[in-house]
Subunit: 341 residues, 2 copies
DNA sequence: GTTAGCACTCATATTAATCGAGTGCTAACC
DNA sequence: GGTTAGCACTCGATTAATATGAGTGCTAAC
């Protein structure tokens, strides 16, 4: 037995219907819903086949059918038609130019949540392959030295170093020039041990401080490895009864708050690649154990210079995949264009 | 009829019991629970009085009594005994030294939530009265100028300015000196229009940029007015059935996520003053409309230099007020000592 | 292959019956 | 006077019994 065209049509109708209503769908409904002109009895036969093939499930004997994870998968992979019309307009108005990346990303998360009515997450771009743009040292007072590190993409990091040895303004200036001459334009990988030794040598009696500064540069860039993640719309999950029970809701909220699990998701999304950049995890496919009742759709955005991040939507398995995908695509595009401005 | 000592004892016993069990408490329970050696019938008479006085409520005819908001209030104001012993030890181990304030505050929120089993919030300190410690200008490239602003308390702000006129390194250095000589050590209020005019004059052809920089200084400090607020333990509310229903939970989660309402709470807490620094809002007393079923306990921490912030706990009305107050006090103390290190 | 028809299933809703914790009140007691 | 034993009463919660109806699977006929 194979999934012929008629079965496909029926499966598609079942999924569509279930996405809308959230109720198990029966044979009579499909009989009317499709233009196949088949009686409910015939549909019933086909549905029995579809169940045997594993695409749909009967919650209990006298109920209609709901899609299985596999059913959703087929739908998403082969039957879904993207809309790509109205969505685009929606966002443009909302994502304002915002010089601070973190504000922009928070806004993005909020926008996604509002537009889709699901929970959303946005990860700050990983700086992994980023180049150092500028190091700036300033003497704050006798005991503190401020190190400002700017990396490509205008991400700025600050470190306040406690200093023991006395360093005057001129020395700070010298060190500043030394470091910038040698390090600017280099990626973290390019700053190797040989270079560090060389720098330390040139710094003479201040080699300790230089070492400390380089350490801070590495830390500042590396620290982003435990990614900043912004979430929004957590309360949206209460709109979907299948997720709103205490156990589920508590776990999802906890995940959104803790962000540990989301981190995994980001890593997985960034490492995996699909041609469209969109990845869909349905139910058990989820990399996050406590979200087996959810579907997660993620996308990778790319601001150039290796600044990649993840945006994602978390909702019930019966989410409006078309809408979600469209929204994610739209936001990706939007982020792109804002950055290029 | 007045609230004599015996009535107080009974009321206290009712509140205590209800805090523990979450169930309406009956006369027989109190008869056994207290050392008054009174029969349940007598207790019943007293309870009828307490109800008439408005301190307790009968959910329905054949149920025991639960404290009213007023009952809780009396309890908190007059009957509560603080423990102050075991709690202190709990925290000390957990709040590690952390050079980044935001990390420390996030950690604090988490700690409070874990210790109390309620939701928690921690606001970043308001910088309102803070003094400028350092301005640092750096030329990033031909079109961008980096402005780093350090304020007392080592809070660091960055701004990236787009520049149109060409500015060389020497000019940047000069402006740097100019600004720092005049502005360092001043609070935002002390930087008045006369001074700004003077600075602009001295900057000559670069007065536009100076104006822009001062603008950024003001903005950087002011922006903190819409406070950064960290929350934790949102999922704890699911532990309390009276808050775990969809409507309540959704609203509370939404509040914790949006943070708008919490902001009000912070403002109110910072403006109000009590001798202990602790403020308790019970049910309807809450400044946040959507949290009428909760109690909120807040405290103000003070890192010196006018850096004040708010920490708070949000939980059911039948929260363990002693424990919460102790925890808040402990954390206040802890923040204090960490900062002084 | 398709369909009408019908017996069957089972979650959900409705109603009724029972239980029991806790009350209020009365009358007796100290 | 305050205190208490005793008892009828209330009412939410639990359980059981009963209906409802959406939807199925199967059979037999078209």
């Amino acid at each position: 037995m194979e999934l012929n065209e008629r079965k496909m049509t029926i499966l598609k109708a079942i999924v569509r219907n279930y996405l809308e209503t959230g109720e198990p769908v029966g044979s009579r409904t499909i009989s009317k819903f499709t233009d196949l002109n088949l009686s409910s009895a015939t549909i019933r036969n086909e549905m029995a086949d579809l169940e045997e093939l594993g695409y749909i499930i009967q919650p209990h004997t006298s109920a209609g059918r709901i899609p299985s994870d596999l059913g959703y998968r087929i739908y998403v992979d082969a039957m879904m038609v993207e809309k790509t019309k109205e969505v685009e307009e929606l966002k443009v108005s909302l994502l304002e130019k915002e010089e601070r990346l973190d504000h922009l990303l928070k806004q993005t998360a909020k926008l996604l949540a509002t537009n889709t009515n699901y929970a959303s997450m946005v990860s700050a771009p990983s700086l992994h392959r980023n180049k150092l743009k500028l190091i700036q040292l300033s003497r704050v007072n006798d005991t503190q030295l401020l190190v400002v590190i700017v990396v490509e993409g205008n991400v700025i990091k600050n470190r306040l170093l406690d200093i023991t040895e006395d360093i005057n303004e001129e020395t700070v200036l010298k060190l500043n020039i030394l470091l910038n001459t040698h390090l600017n334009g280099l990626s973290i990988e390019e700053i190797n041990l040989g270079m560090i030794t060389n720098l330390k040598k040139q710094a003479g009696i201040h080699s300790d401080i230089v070492a400390e500064i380089i350490d801070e540069v590495a830390k500042a860039i590396h620290e982003e490895e435990d990614l900043e993640i912004y979430t929004s719309g957590a309360n949206n999950i209460f709109k979907y009864p299948e997720l709103a029970d205490n156990k589920n809701a508590s776990e999802i909220i906890s995940n959104l708050e803790e962000k540990k699990a989301l981190n995994e998701l980001v890593v997985k999304t960034l490492s995996g690649d699909s041609d469209t950049g969109i990845q869909v995890y349905i139910g058990n496919e989820s990399p996050v154990d406590t979200m087996k009742d959810c579907s997660i759709v993620t996308a990778t955005y790319d601001l150039g210079d290796g600044m990649k991040g993840t945006i994602g939507i978390i909702g019930p398995k019966r989410m409006d995949y078309e809408k979600v995908v469209d929204n994610l695509k739209g936001v990706m595009k939007e982020l792109d264009s804002i950055y290029k401005k």
